[in-house]
Subunit: 140 residues, 3 copies
């Protein structure tokens, strides 16, 4: 059994989903491991990692609109506004989703379903630099 680490950096363009599937696949390929488990960990508290549909872009728009309605920017409920009206909503969205994902690796690739993509979900209005640590464990 072996393990490999990589740190992926992304520059987001503000709120929305960024498809990182290929970057994660490349990490797994670079590890040389054929079967095992890939774990992704996002080192932030105002963005998420998400597995979602990779076919119709309307899914991503609808997700974004649902969360904007559920956790409104500038909600007077929130006292933490140090970085603006989208600051606390970004933390709530993160709590409602996840910052880590574990995906099995089979035949040297992520064992995703046909319609699954891996996304980094930026919750802040402005773009940010985001880091994802990738841990790949397994056998050649």
């Amino acid at each position: 059994m072996e393990q490999h680490f990589a740190t992926l950096s992304f520059t987001t363009r503000g709120r929305g989903l960024l498809d990182i599937t290929d970057r994660v696949r490349d990490c797994v390929a670079a590890s040389g491991l054929c079967k095992g488990l890939a774990t992704l960990f996002l080192r932030h508290t105002s963005a998420s990692l998400l597995i979602q549909e990779n076919a119709d872009p309307a899914v991503q728009d609808d997700l974004e609109r649902f969360f904007a309605r559920l956790v409104p920017d500038g909600d007077p409920l929130f006292r933490h506004r140090a970085e603006g009206p989208d600051d606390m909503p970004a933390h709530v969205r993160t709590a409602l989703t996840a910052v880590q994902l574990a995906i099995p690796v089979l035949d040297g690739s992520l064992a995703l379903g046909t319609w699954q993509g891996v996304y980094l979900w930026e919750h802040r209005r402005q773009g940010h630099r985001r880091e994802v640590v990738v841990h790949v464990l397994g056998e050649r």
Copy 2:
């Protein structure tokens, strides 16, 4: 250290929670591993994996009713309706929950708490065939 893989298939009967604890336990037993970590991964974007109370069935009904109110079928907010009024709500429910779980294995069995069961949560109104990849890592 060893690892074992299995793929479990389930046919759901429409929206609701399906108890898969025994099927997962059987996978762990079949691996022959005594202590380690079991990771489950659901290969879909309109169903979830969930750990919830296994005692009072009213908990499952209440969960279902809460999510039906939070993410209403046919909500005019949603544009992605390719597969009907429950299509996009199913994706949102998946984003609000999870498609993967990691559970420690101790004494050859899942280290669940007394009241914890493992559930596959179908979010579509109609039944679907669902696949869960189980990765068991550990020692004999």
Copy 3:
């Protein structure tokens, strides 16, 4: 590759976030492993594990207030009230968050981001005794 287990016990003081970062760090240090993966698993269905901002305490208050509004205690929607008006809301909050977390270990410590802390989120009004199983996998 080695693996180590520990079970951490916490006594919560009712609803709210309890910072458990140092206790988890101590587990990783005690394992003697330098690089690998730490997986935490909470053995309950009315509390969560969460990674959130560790700087401004207002973030934790706002999170608590948001969830109190989203899933109100005593909501007539709920039929499961065996343990009072906060019983079913605690299960819903757990479903909306998570009971497990996986965090990479690098240089003998958790690879958390600068602003990330690890929290046990008690969802019941009264304090409870809570157990977290910690699995550390990796190399010296």
